[in-house]
Every structure is written in structure tokens, then in C-alpha cells.
Amino acid sequence: MTEVHTSAGRAAERVVRALRDPVLWQGAIGIASFFVVWQLLKWIGLFALLPGPVDVVRAVPLQMEQEGYWLSWLASSRRVFLGFLVAAILAISVGVSMGMSRKLRMAGFPILEVLRPIPPLAWLPLSILFWPSPEATMVFLTFLGAFFPIFINILAGIDSIDIRYIQAARSLGAGQATLFWRVMVPGALPALFTGLSIAIGITWEVVIAAEMASAQLGLGYLTWNAYMSQSLVGIVVGMLSIGVAGMVSSGIMGWIGRNAMPWRRGR
């Protein structure tokens, strides 16, 4: 009983302290003034076309009840997840093999460096022609967007491993498997997660554009559809949904990263 009491007291104390923190209320001032300025601009008549924040807030429940809203979330997330997964598996295997074999790297790296600067979206028309279904097109594009950041980062991660760690492991009698699991993996993991969190952001961007061009469902399509029917509120709600989706995915990525690398938690 007392334990509950003290923990509840402590929680309340923490809340009070958080409320007193100037960072919090100054942040609130910032966000509030953003919306106030937006609404004021609306009233003055600048950007008359844009919906004001009040209109948007009023429209959110309506838009969410709209047919296919949650299905759009599902469709977009599935595309992002699939493309991201394939990219991660391929990029990690290619990156690790190139990180461990010099010859493979000398042969393969220049080609990937030539392909890398081509923006993923530039592949869109070609992929529409090449892949049999729009679904495959979109997954392929998200794959392209995610592949290069993961690949580059894991390669950099392997390069950054101190050669002395490898030598130490070797002289302590580590075999190839031990070397891989005990030195290479933990050494490259921070860079890998940097790559993964960059990649997840890019996949959302690519999937939105691809959906605008060729989907029947999805958050990008939802926004595009609102544009086609000149519903500005719909566009803003679509944008907000995309923003939330991106934030949630980055959050999940960060959480996985923190849990996969408990030794970095203190930093």
C-alpha cells in the first residue's frame, strides 16, 4: 500500500517538475504561435485557399471516417515494410560480403556507386513499364530508396571497426564465425541502425510519390485524390497522416536500435 502511494507520489512529482520546465511551456508557446499565425494569415486573407487550423481539426474525424482511410494506412505500411525488408536483407548481405572480401568489393562497389546517385523516383516510369503490377512497382521503388543508405552505412560501419579488435580476436583464437558474431556484428551495428533509420524515412517519401502516380489505395493516393477533388482539407489531413506514419516508423526503428545495442544506452 505504501509502495503504491510513494510511486504515485513520485509520478506526480515528476509531472509537476515537467510542467515547471521552461522547455515544455516555451515549446508549447512555439507550437501555439505557429497555429495562431496560420489562423491569422487565414483571417487576413493571405493564402485564402489554404484551410485554417480550425477547419483542419474539424475535418479530421470526418476524413478518418472516410471509406478506405484505414485501408490506406494498411496498404502504404505494407509497401513500406516489404520494400524496406527486402532492401535491408539484400543491403546487409551485399554490404557484409563486400566488407569482408576485398576482391568482391573492388568489382562490385564501383557499379553501385554509379547507380547510387540516380534518384529513386527517376526509376518510376521504367518500373511501371517493367513490373507486371503497380504493387510490385511501388515495392521496388521503396526497395531502391532504402537499399543504398543501408548498404553505404553498413560498409562504413565495417570499415570503422578497429583492426586491433580483429587482431585481438584472432590471437585469442577466434574462428570466422566467432569473428563475425562477436566483432563484426556489434562493431557495425551502430552504423547499420543509422542507415536503417535514414532508409525508413526515405521509403515513406518514395512510397508517397509512387502512390500519387500509380496506386488505387494508400496515403499518397488519398492525398492525391483529395487534390483531384480540390479538397484542401483532405490534402492537409493526408499530409498529417503521412507525417504521423513516418514518425511512428522512425520511433519503432529507434526503439529496436536501442534494444539491439544495450551497451550504447548510456550515451
Binding site: 521552461p22 522547455v23 516555451q26 515549446g27 508549447a28 508557446i29 512555439g30 507550437i31 504561435s33 505557429f34 493564402f47 485557399l49 489554404l50 576482391k103 573492388m106 568489382a107 562490385g108 562497389f109 564501383p110 557499379i111 554509379v114 547507380l115 547510387r116 546517385p117 540516380i118 534518384p119 523516383l121 527517376a122 526509376w123 518510376l124 516510369p125 521504367l126 513499364l129 517493367f130 513490373w131 507486371p132 515513406w204 517519401e205 508517397i208 510519390a209 500519387m212 502516380a213 499518397g220 492525398t223 492525391w224 483529395a226 487534390y227 480540390q230 484542401l232 490534402i235 492537409v236 493526408g238 499530409m239 498529417l240 503521412i242 507525417g243 504521423v244 513516418g246 514518425m247 522512425s250
Partner: protein
Amino acid sequence: MAVTNSSLGAAQVDGGYEARLRASPDWPVQAGDWRARLRKAFRAQALRYALLGFGIFFGLWYLLTAVIVPPRFNYIPNPALLFGQWISEVPQYGISVFTPEYYGHIWVSVLRVYTAFAISVGVGAPLGILLGWSRFGRNTLFPVVEMLRPIPPLAWVPLAVLALPETEMAVIFVTLLASFFATVLNTYLGVRSIPETYFRAAACLGYHRVDVLRRVVIPGALPFIFTGLQIAMGVAWFSLVGGELIAGRSGLGYLILDGYTQLALPNIFIGMITLGVLGWASSALIRKVGQLMMAWHVKGQGGGA
């Protein structure tokens, strides 16, 4: 001499050793001896493997698109045809290095990217410095930046097209958004990375705010700023393509889309490769400028160090 050489094994080994030494990639090449340089470059293992890799890549490409054509691979032009069209004086689809249209598209895209880049740096870098330097500015503005940042630039396209009076402005707006956030964030991180002691030292030496800005904040943040500019340039090209695909009437992104609608397959590839080259060249340019401006920043230390 020949007799001595054959009879004395040691001498032969010696001569062979020196020849091998001269042949090794570590043997110094005299300055100006370009033939030796060329020979050395060709002998380098890295180059041979790279050529091998490219050989396999183009070989596979040719094989799959010209010799055995699996279903759907007919949409990919074979490399010989592609590059033939590219340098043809009378291209079948109206785009090659000899047509003014090609340079027109390049010029429009480059102009858009650099306009967007200039605006995003001009506004983003000062904002980033403000965020990093002033606590009140950081506390109030940073949440707003963080609220808007997760919305991908391309999600702004419909809104930008409707709200801005011209399509051109919409494309530039979409192009600058991502690079704006990259610049703001990296500048902010750069200012935050400056050790507190530098500010205190400046204060002890009686610096005014302007001097602190000029002598401490800007040089201190410069490595991060240039990392940010490189990222900004990359994402600017990325978003430009999206903007041009969805809302453009000209530019390389439009060239690709046009190639798609008219089934002018080589034009799609010409557009893609040109975009890749331009994007790469822009990043290289920024890296070069960064190295020139930060002579004191040891190369290899990187922006994140």
C-alpha cells in the same frame, strides 16, 4: 654478360627481383611520366576488378536485352542502342547530345535545384544558427520544425500546386523543402557541437555578439554545415525528380515521364543517367568547396567528428 647471368643464379634472381620491384604498384612513378602513370593505373588491382565488375554488369545487361530477352525485358533498351541513340546526330526520339532540347531540360532542372538550394541555405543556415545559439529560440522554434519535418516533401506537392500561383514555384518549393530541413538540422547540430569553453573564452576576451558569431559560431559549425549541404543537395535532386514527375512541364524528370508516355525508352534512360551524373557532380562540387573553405579541418576527420 649472358653467360654470367645464366651461370650465376644469384644475379638472375637479383635482376628479376628489381624488375618485380619496378613492376610493383608501390614503385614510385616519376612526376610527369604519364605513360608510367597510365601503365601503373592499369596494373592496379582495383581498376582491373572494377573493369571486371562493369564488364559483367554491361554484359548481363546486353545479354538480357538483346540476346535472350525474357518477358518484360523488352522494355529495357540494350546498352548499344541506348548509347548509340545518345550520341546520334539524328536520334529517333529527339533527344541526344546534339539536340538543344536535351540541354534545355538539363538547364531547367539545374536552375531549379540551385535556386531551391540557394533559398534553403539562405534561410536554413541562419535559422539553424538561431536554434543552436539561442536557448529561447531553440525551445520555441525547434518543436515547430520537428512537427513539420516528418511530412515528406513530396506530400506537399498537391498543396503547393494549389496554393502557389505558378507550377514553377510549386516545383521549386517542393525541391527546397527537404534541403531546407537538412540544412537547418545540421547547422543546429554544428552549433551545438561547439564546446562551451570556446564561448566562455570569447566572452572573457570581450567579444561582441557579432564577433562571437563570426569567429566562434560559424567556423565551429562549418564542418556540420557542409555535411548538411551535401545531404541537402542530394535530397534536392531527389525531390526535384518527384516534383517534375508529378507537376512539371519541363526538366529531366519530365523528360523521363515523357519518355514513358511516348514509349521512347532510350529517353527514360538518358534522363535517369543524366540525373545521376548531375546529382553526383553537385555533391562533388560542394565537397570541393567545403575542403577549400575548411583548410584547417583535417580530411578524414569527417563532418561528424
